[in-house]
């Protein structure tokens, strides 16, 4: 085995979030040579899920990759790196991802809240890893950069919200027309 991997910032090979049936909610692959097709990716995720969901063991080695993971209620978070990768670096990424989401979702790290704030989740992942490079590892920084307001979406609220925006816009229009009239 080549003990020395080429020194590189490309640490993370893949990150994914699965639900408690092993379905993909979000996943990003950063190494184009690793599972180029969707089918391979989903097979890999299923395999990882089957091997890890029963015991909360934090770390495993599957399909030639080191995988660190964490679960919360009905969610499973995974970060995968090469066999030579520093396991603690991968752990740092996983912890940052989990802590950031936990703060953003006000500790409700469960499937429904996550899906209701999916845009925020995409943004958080984007702030932590960029193309396989660890961009940020401090959850506080991530939250500040994303600057996302959480919402508890129910149908009523959204339609209410829509109504409100409409009214607001109408008002602006009225105001500005008044403004013009004055001039």
């Amino acid at each position: 085995m080549d003990g020395f991997a080429e020194p590189s910032l490309y640490t993370v090979k893949a990150v994914f979030i699965l639900d408690n049936d092993g379905n993909r909610l979000l996943s990003k692959y950063y190494d184009p040579e690793l599972y180029p097709s969707m089918k391979e990716q989903k097979n890999f995720e299923m395999n990882v899920f089957n091997k890890t969901h029963k015991a909360d063991n934090e770390i495993s080695f599957l399909e030639g990759m080191t995988i660190v993971y964490k679960s919360s209620i009905d969610l499973f978070f995974y970060v995968a790196g090469s066999a030579q990768e520093n396991e603690l670096m991968l752990m740092a990424v996983l912890n940052c991802l989990f802590e950031s989401l936990s703060q953003m979702l006000r500790k409700n790290v469960e499937k429904r809240t996550l899906l209701d704030n999916m845009d925020g989740v995409f943004l958080v992942v984007d702030e932590i890893i960029d193309g396989g490079v660890i961009l940020e590892s401090d959850p506080q920084q991530v939250i500040e950069k994303v600057n996302y307001r959480v919402r508890d979406c129910t149908e009523e609220q959204i339609s209410l919200c829509n109504e409100l925006t409409k009214i607001q816009i109408d008002n602006t229009v009225k105001l500005s027309s008044k403004f013009y009239l004055k001039i």
Partner: protein
């Protein structure tokens, strides 16, 4: 509009997925509201999220629909909603490869990246660099330089990381930003530091001097970021490896000092780097091992895992260094994380004494069914190593392996077990019969064709030489009745070997062959008919040539030669000798006792090295008509490390010629070399026919030049020669930054080290699986024998290795291994001499004061025998 919250989902509770029933067409339909004025940020945000979600699920978007959605999305830049804008950036990145004309957003992104809103600037840079190609990069270069040194950390980090991504695409442009990256490296922000260091290294990694300087600077100034420290440790250990620097080097001191860093991540990285260093002594390992020992009792599973995995690696090379940790490892045997437990046990198996083996094996068999295949392979590898260490334990191991073989498991796992059993059989003659019996049982119910054929091959090789060969016949013939074509064919070949070697079995084998001739598959029928006819001749030489020792040519080479032959029909029959020989003997690959499963990414079938050379050389018009490539040597370095130019030579041998391929690298970034060639002065009657210069040699882009040499025809025994080599070229100075060369240059030359051609360059290794049969086949027509005294050699092992490397021939029948405590040994070597003459060497060695060696050489050509004996003497 928000159809996703239909009644059913609402009822099924909070676990349901609001995105579950999304339809791409419906979402794209909804995306039309992007065009409405005024923009409703909330609704648009929701639709963008749905689009990204769909892309993430692997939904396929056609170019037209993607482009349409993308263009609609560009309108959303008019809104000032922060999250919406950020989602636009994400959409741009996701769609960069599916939509057309993504560069349309360039100006919007450039505006955001240079604007006042800091929250937009970083993400905008990253999105912009994602859609920028080489031609566009010039246009944004100015902004990128500014962004790299920006005082806002997120902006600087984004610019650095994006630059790193673009190094692959346009190295030359990004290289010009090195000063800015340098400035960013002294930033206070830990992530900026890390990213700047990474970029600087990628830009300078071909320039060892610059990397060394950079490391010195940062080790002195000290960095804050633990990530940056890890990166520095990796760079330092790579430098140490390349320069083969001793452990008194400041680089090693730096790595060792990191063992006292306050971050566990850095400490672990340093320990792991020390452990992986080649030629590390036990004393240097000790501090690394003791920090790993501490980690073994950490409450964090990842840390325990990392520690025990690294200790496992140490135990491969220095088991004694790990003995101190045995107690900590014992505690991990019952770890709830089975990966950790497995690693702990396999480490203990390597470090522990023979007496603890049974206990550990019992422990591991209690949970072997719970662990993943990857770790089962680790267990098998540990057992394989153990069998070599304690040969007496083979019965316990064999038993354990056969139990594992019966359990469920994937192909990789089964293959590891089979390889392990085969290597035990080969190492340890006592275990042969039990091992073969287990393998026989396994193929009775084996779904993997590859393994079944491998085992049948093994049975054919080893079975006939056991005391009762007849008992294997039943297992083999069962395969002919029950299995797929490939396995049936392999079984027929195995049967033939029994018939050829055991006269009393021959009649029954012939009867079975007769039945196989009625098989439904033509390959099986062909093989049976062929073997039937060979066996009926009852001639030893035929058996040796066609049953025991198969073809030794390279398969792609054979394919190419046959194709060539069919293109140019001629009266002459096809000559097997025109086919290049296979370089690596295929059959005797030993099971690698590699550290745990290295990367198991899909193995690409790489063509053999020699086939690549054959192609490359055939493409050069000057080298037409030399015949097939006979042998390519390993590269020989002709310069010292760290010189201005690095040159290595590969010697290609043909029937009557040799081509010397010089791979040159220019390590000076202010020079362009042109018309590079290597002048050669031979010491013997070798004649240099032709030089093929390399047209140009740019900085750090290797190129090759060639020399064609004719071998002396009148004196076939002149096999060795020394060439003095000089590299001649035209130098043009150039600007290190742009690579623009001056208009005129001057001629210069550079003296290289001498190049030796030895007898080994004329001989290709060929494996004869049955040496005795091959020996009889060649006959004693040209046999010669001589006795030598090797005064300088002290042990049999050393003598064997010297002879093998000197003659460059293939040891057969595992005769390269000298059993311990023996005073005499017989070494069998096989090869083919240039021109296609088989050569076999039998060397009897006896150890007295020095080593006395009696060499017997047989060949199909008398000259070859003389050459070998002359060169040994």
């Amino acid at each position: 509009m928000i159809k996703k919250f239909d009644k059913k989902d609402e009822e099924s509770g909070s676990g349901s997925n609001p995105f579950q029933h999304l339809e791409k067409s419906a979402v794209l339909q909804e995306a039309r509201i992007f065009n409405e004025t005024p923009i409703n940020p909330r609704r648009c945000l929701h639709i963008l999220t749905k689009i990204i979600y769909l892309l993430n699920q692997g939904e396929h978007f056609g170019t037209t629909e993607a482009t349409e959605a993308f263009f609609a999305m560009t309108r959303l830049f008019q809104s000032n909603d922060q999250t919406l804008r950020r989602m636009c950036y994400l959409t741009i990145k996701e769609m960069a490869n599916i939509s057309e004309d993504v560069i349309i957003v360039t100006s919007s992104l450039t505006k955001d990246m240079t604007g006042k809103e800091d929250v937009y600037r970083g993400p905008a840079i990253r999105a912009l660099c994602r859609i920028t190609d080489t031609t566009m990069l010039q246009a944004i270069e100015r902004y990128m330089k500014q962004a790299i040194v920006d005082k806002v950390p997120s902006v600087s980090s984004s610019a650095l990381v994006s630059s790193l991504h673009m190094v692959k695409m346009s190295f030359d442009v990004v290289k010009r930003w090195v000063n800015e990256a340098q400035e960013a490296a002294s930033s206070d922000n830990i992530m900026v530091q890390y990213h700047a260091l990474g970029l600087l290294y990628h830009l300078r990694k071909n320039d060892r001097l610059a990397v060394t300087k950079m490391l010195n600077k940062f080790t002195k100034s000290g960095l804050k970021s633990p990530f940056a420290y890890c990166m520095m440790i990796r760079i330092a250990s790579k430098l140490l490896e390349e320069t083969e620097g001793g452990h008194d080097s400041p680089l090693f001191d730096f790595i060792e000092s990191c063992l006292r860093n306050k971050h566990e991540m850095v400490v672990y990285e340093a320990a792991s780097a020390i452990v992986h260093m080649p030629k590390c002594t036990a004393r240097e390992l000790a501090p690394a091992v003791s920090v790993l020992q501490l980690f073994c009792s950490s409450p964090k599973a990842a840390l325990r895992y990392a520690a025990v995995r690294t200790l496992n690696k140490v135990a491969m090379k220095h088991p004694s260094a790990v003995t101190a940790c045995n107690l900590d490892l014992e505690n991990l045997i019952t770890d709830s994380n089975r990966s950790i437990a497995t690693l702990a046990i396999t480490t203990l198996l390597k470090t522990g004494s023979e007496s603890s083996v049974d206990r550990l094996m019992k422990q591991i068999s209690s949970f072997v069914s719970e662990i993943s295949d990857e770790f089962k392979v680790v267990v098998v590898q540990a057992i394989s190593a153990l069998c070599q260490k304690y040969p007496r334990k083979h019965s316990v191991m064999m038993n354990f392996l056969s139990n594992m073989l019966r359990d469920d498991g994937g192909f990789e796992y089964k293959r590891a077990i089979v390889d392990c059993i085969i290597s035990i059989i080969e190492e340890n003659p006592e275990s042969k019969e039990t091992g073969l019996a287990h393998l026989c049982e396994f193929i009775e119910d084996c779904e993997h064709t590859v393994l079944a054929t491998k085992i049948l091959h093994m049975l054919g090789k080893e079975g006939p030489r056991t005391p009762t060969p007849s008992k294997y016949i039943r297992f083999i013939f069962n395969r002919v009745v029950l299995e797929s074509e490939a396995v049936r064919a392999a079984a027929v070949s195995a049967l033939a070997k029994f018939g050829a070697q055991n006269d009393d079995l021959l009649p029954s084998v012939l009867v079975l062959m007769q039945r196989c001739m009625m098989d439904s598959d033509d390959e099986v029928r062909d093989r049976a008919t062929f073997y039937m006819n060979v066996l009926q001749q009852k001639q030893k030489a035929l058996n040796a040539a066609y049953i025991f020792n198969g073809l030794s040519v390279s398969v792609p080479g054979l394919e190419k030669s046959l194709h060539q032959y069919t293109l140019e029909p001629s009266e002459k029959p096809f000559d097997m000798k025109t086919v290049p020989l296979a370089t690596a003997p295929i059959t005797e690959q030993k099971t690698e006792i590699a550290p745990m499963a290295t990367s198991k990414l899909p193995e690409k079938l790489a063509p053999a090295r020699q086939d690549i050379y054959q192609e490359q050389l055939a493409a050069i018009p000057e080298f037409k008509g030399l015949g097939p490539l006979f042998k390519s040597s390993e590269p020989v370095q002709l310069t010292e490390a760290e010189t201005e130019y690095v040159v290595r030579c590969i010697k290609h041998t043909f029937a009557n010629h040799m081509i010397f391929q010089f791979d040159c690298t220019n390590t000076l970034n202010d020079q362009l070399l042109q018309r590079v060639q290597v002048q050669m002065e031979p010491s013997e009657s070798y004649e240099v026919l032709h030089y093929v210069p390399a047209p140009s040699l740019h900085y750090s882009q290797p190129n090759s030049c060639y020399s064609l040499v004719r071998l002396p025809e009148d004196d076939p025994t002149a096999v060795s020669c020394t060439f003095s080599c000089t590299m001649k070229y035209l130098v043009r100075d150039c600007d290190p930054n742009t690579g623009e060369p001056d208009d005129d240059g001057y001629d210069d030359e550079y003296v290289l080290e001498d190049l030796e051609v030895t007898v080994a360059d004329h001989i290709q290794k060929v494996l004869k699986p049955n040496f005795g049969a091959a020996w009889e086949e060649i006959g004693d027509e040209f046999e010669k024998e001589e006795t030598f005294a090797l005064a300088t050699v002290r042990t049999l092992d050393e003598a064997v290795n010297n002879i093998i490397s000197f003659l460059g021939m293939q040891p057969c029948e595992r005769s390269d291994k000298v059993p311990e405590n023996k005073n005499s040994h017989v070494l069998f070597l096989a090869g083919v001499f240039r021109g296609g003459h088989d050569v076999l060497v039998r060397a009897r060695l006896a150890l007295a004061d020095g080593v006395t060696m009696q060499v017997t050489v047989r060949s199909t050509d008398e000259n070859v025998v003389d050459v070998i004996l002359a060169s040994v003497g």
